[in-house]
């Protein structure tokens, strides 16, 4: 008999207490919900749309979705959850695809990316060949891969040789690709450098459920999707490159999810079908019937233009790009160190004074205010190391230091949850510590580590104070194209609008719109982390 069956004698006091507690639990969530609703209404202005617009979408989109959800909720809750996951995946990948397109349009040209992929693929190929034929020791292979990577990314003798004063002998692969006089068009480069790697990943995913043939089919379909999207782009009125990227980033994960669902739980496809179908039907219907949509401030113009002194013309584009670049720098700088520190603390550290010191130190670092990290960035990277203020590199490094303790703490939890028996089994098979970490602990802990990292990145993407402290400019008009360019970020831009340009027009238009974009990105990241964690906990 569990405790839930006891304690039934509680009368009024108990009941009141219970509901008071429930109310306390809900106050914060409900308050935030109301605030978010307010800001969404301010930004999207649904009341400015024609009543016919609302009616059309209600009939084509809201009503069918509600009916299908209600039916699934009563009859097949599993299918509702799986279907909801596919809809969520569609939303998250669309957002992600927007970011990828932005990167390829304004930051990295397809040719540079192509050269980069080639520069990574060539050493990997050579290394795979060497290790298969010669099976060298670990020291040799680490040295060899470092040398190959250096040669292919930087050339011979590269920047190190340049410092010593050696004449260049061979250019890097990236420079080599860039110097080829005749090149295929951008989308062909993207087919090779984006569709092919993504297809390989998709293929290995499919192959893990079926067989080699299935994997090859998935690879072929991915490449075909890329080619088709590029060829169809002109008739849709967009460029080939963005079309290919959108189709690949949105289509491939969603396609895989739909395929899995088709194999296991076909009813789950009802919800995504109704949502996507309803949205399309509704969009065509309002177009055909001539109903005007809401005068939303979050529109294409807002997402694709830079700041302006006039609130109506102000946009978030450079800030979105800045946030994406900062995230990239933060991932590269914080993920390896955070996970590495967690592995050391959990798997290697002896129980001595130094370990306890590091332990206490990490938990205290997690409590240091973000503005102090900003001071650290200002004092060390800008004043001491002489970096220019407000660059992508300085901002990324400062934010990395800020989230490092969070990544370490969550990664340690994930590593700790790997059962001790699995490690013992590995040691029992004669594996060394490093082999155990590499083959047993890390794969098992990976979903947990990933969840913690996504949550920590969410923290970094919402931080403003450290960026202000390192002197990031309030207003940037173009995307930073290199690591030493000045960078703005979404929360910083919102802050600038709310204070420096704190006129009523900005408060009513640009700020709510910026808040809606920022919060949407964060909610997407948080939900992704939560879904990952739930799935991972269910598996265990």
């Amino acid at each position: 008999m569990s405790t839930h069956d006891f304690g039934q004698v509680s009368r009024t006091v108990g009941t009141v207490f219970r509901y008071a507690l429930l109310a306390a639990t809900l106050v914060g969530v409900v308050a935030l919900g109301i605030l978010l609703l307010f800001v969404a209404v301010d930004a999207i202005q649904p009341l400015t749309a024609d009543p016919g617009w609302h009616l059309t979408f209600f009939l084509s989109f809201v009503l069918p979705t509600l009916v299908v959800s209600g039916y699934l909720y009563r009859r097949a809750p599993d299918s509702l959850r799986a279907g909801g996951a596919i809809v969520g995946l569609l939303a998250v990948t669309t957002m992600f695809a927007g970011g990828v397109v932005l990167i390829f349009v304004d930051i990295v040209s397809p040719i540079t990316w192509f050269g980069f992929v080639l520069a990574l693929a060539l050493p990997a190929g050579v290394l795979a060949l060497v290790s298969r034929t010669l099976s060298p020791g670990m020291g040799t292979s680490v040295g060899l891969s470092a040398a190959l990577l250096y040669i292919s990314l930087a050339g011979v003798p590269g920047p190190v040789g340049g410092i010593v004063g050696l004449a260049p002998i061979a250019p890097s692969v990236i420079a080599l690709v860039g110097s080829i006089p005749v090149l295929p068009v951008d989308w062909m480069l993207l087919v090779v450098s984006v569709s092919l790697p993504v297809g390989l990943l998709a293929g290995s995913y499919v192959a893990s459920y079926t067989d080699r043939r299935g994997g090859i089919v998935a690879l072929g379909l991915t490449v075909a999707l890329g080619v088709a999207a590029s060829l169809a782009a002109p008739s849709l009125g967009i460029s080939a490159g963005p079309s290919l990227l959108l189709a690949t980033v949105v289509g491939v994960p969603t396609g895989l999810a739909v395929w899995r669902s088709w194999e296991t739980n076909r009813l789950a496809l009802a919800l995504p079908a109704v949502v996507v179908g309803g949205a399309f039907v509704g969009a065509f219907a309002v177009e055909a019937l001539g109903f005007a949509g809401p005068q939303s401030w979050v529109d294409w113009q807002f997402l694709t233009s830079a700041h302006s002194r006039i609130a109506e013309d102000a946009g978030l584009y450079p800030a979105i790009g800045g946030s994406i670049l900062l995230m990239g720098a933060v991932i590269v700088l914080s993920f390896p160190f955070g996970v590495g520190a967690a592995i050391y603390m959990e798997e290697y550290a002896p129980d001595n004074r130094l370990t306890r010191l590091i332990d206490v130190n990490i938990s205290n670092l997690a409590g240091v205010p973000s503005v102090v990290y900003g001071l650290l960035g200002l004092g060390v990277f800008v004043r001491f190391a002489g970096q220019p203020t407000g660059t992508v590199l300085v901002g990324g490094a400062t934010l990395s230091l800020l989230i490092l303790p969070i990544i370490i703490i969550s990664s340690r939890e994930a590593i700790r949850s790997v059962p001790e028996e699995m490690r013992q089994a590995s040691y029992g098979m004669g594996a060394t510590r490093w082999q155990t970490v590499k083959n047993v602990v890390l794969p098992r802990a990976f979903p947990g580590v990933l969840t913690g990292t996504i949550l920590a990145l969410g923290r970094a993407i919402g931080e403003t104070a450290p960026l202000i402290m390192i002197g990031a400019p309030d207003v940037v008009f173009s995307l930073p194209a290199e690591l030493s360019a000045k960078v703005s970020a979404m929360p910083l831009q919102v802050y600038a609008w709310a204070t420096l340009y704190g006129s009523p027009a900005f408060y009513q238009k640009a700020v709510p719109a910026g808040v809606v974009v920022l919060v949407s990105v964060l909610l997407a990241m948080n939900s992704l982390a939560i879904v990952l964690r739930n799935r991972y906990q269910n598996e265990q």
Binding site: P369, I468, T499
Partner: protein
């Protein structure tokens, strides 16, 4: 023999090889980064702040303009670059911290008791992620909410409220730290052994009696340590108060509730303001940043250490 010892036994023979040493070294360097970070924070804050006070400036061989430490810590007028009375900033920080505690502590503890004692597993699995979202919203967004949506409500009740006020800032900071109070308190409550609850029920206690008379006292050290941690977060909170609390430094009576209706400049907001106002590199105003920074760092560090100490020292062992 513990499993760690067995592991050491098993792996001893290969411990010295390159394959094992290289990863170990890399992971150790990663862990050392955190120590280096702390050391650089302390060294940087200490050296720059030392150049701010007249007492310590000679120690670091600094001969420029300085401020008397007594003037900094005891005076109440903050008007850089002439007057550096940090009490004006501290009073605002204290008011916001107390105000956010009034919001977050009852709600956070209530949430923790509900999640740990009353909620079904299904309800818990829905409520916990929802609470995490509260902590995931960027703080600058909370500041905007305070100015645009919460201040008008407060002005409706107290018409003399300023456009920027401490009350709205306290409310949003309070909402922001609820998840912290709730999750740490709930962990402490969940760690209370089931036997204690069973014993309570066996004595004829109701669920209410058990929750308030057994679980909460048994978990008290964890609950108190969650308060301290959350309050240290409130003290260090920057953007919400920068946007919502105002930008005019003034010394407010921390015991007078009417102070909440006025705007003031908390420590963190003062740092942002200093940085945004054109401070010449290395000047007195620049160094005052570090003087506030080290004060802030010392306070939050002390609170973290105290919280840790309470959680360890007063934990009920079962």
């Amino acid at each position: 023999m513990s499993t760690d010892d067995i592991t050491d036994e098993l792996t001893r023979n290969v411990e010295g090889t390159t394959q094992e040493r290289l990863p170990r070294l890399f992971f150790f360097i990663c862990a050392a980064v955190s120590v280096v970070t702390t050391v650089s924070i302390v060294v940087l804050l200490a050296t720059e702040a030392a150049r701010f006070f007249s007492v310590t400036a000679p120690l670091v061989g600094f001969a420029g303009e300085t401020v008397d430490a007594a003037d900094f810590f005891l005076k109440t007028a903050w008007q850089p670059p002439e007057q550096f009375g940090v009490l004006a900033l501290v009073s605002a920080t204290i008011l916001i911290t107390v105000g956010s505690a009034v919001v977050a502590i009852p709600l956070g503890v209530g949430t923790a008791i509900y999640l740990s004692e009353y909620a079904t597993p299904a309800a818990r699995s829905r409520l916990k992620p929802a609470l995490e979202i509260l902590a995931g919203i960027p703080t600058v967004v909370y500041g905007f909410f305070a100015v645009i949506y919460i201040t008008p409500v407060i002005q409706g009740v107290f018409p003399q409220t300023g456009a920027f006020n401490l009350a709205s800032a306290s409310i949003v900071v309070g909402i922001m730290i609820i998840p912290m109070v709730a999750s740490i308190s709930e962990d402490a409550m969940s760690a209370v052994p089931e036997d204690l609850r069973q014993a309570g029920y066996g004595m004829g206690a109701t669920k209410f009696d058990v929750a308030t008379g057994v679980v909460v006292p048994a978990a008290l050290s964890g609950i108190v340590s969650s308060f301290i941690l959350a309050l240290s977060r409130a003290i260090g909170e920057t953007m919400a108060v920068t946007v919502a609390a105002g930008s005019q430094a003034q010394y407010l009576n921390v015991l007078n509730p009417a102070s909440y209706l006025e705007g003031a400049l908390p420590m963190t907001a003062a740092m942002i303001k200093l940085l945004l106002s054109d401070i010449t590199g290395g000047g007195l105003a620049y160094r005052s940043l570090y003087a506030i920074g080290i004060t802030l760092f010392a306070i939050t560090l002390a609170m973290n250490v105290i919280s840790d100490f309470i959680a360890q020292r007063y934990r009920e062992e079962y």
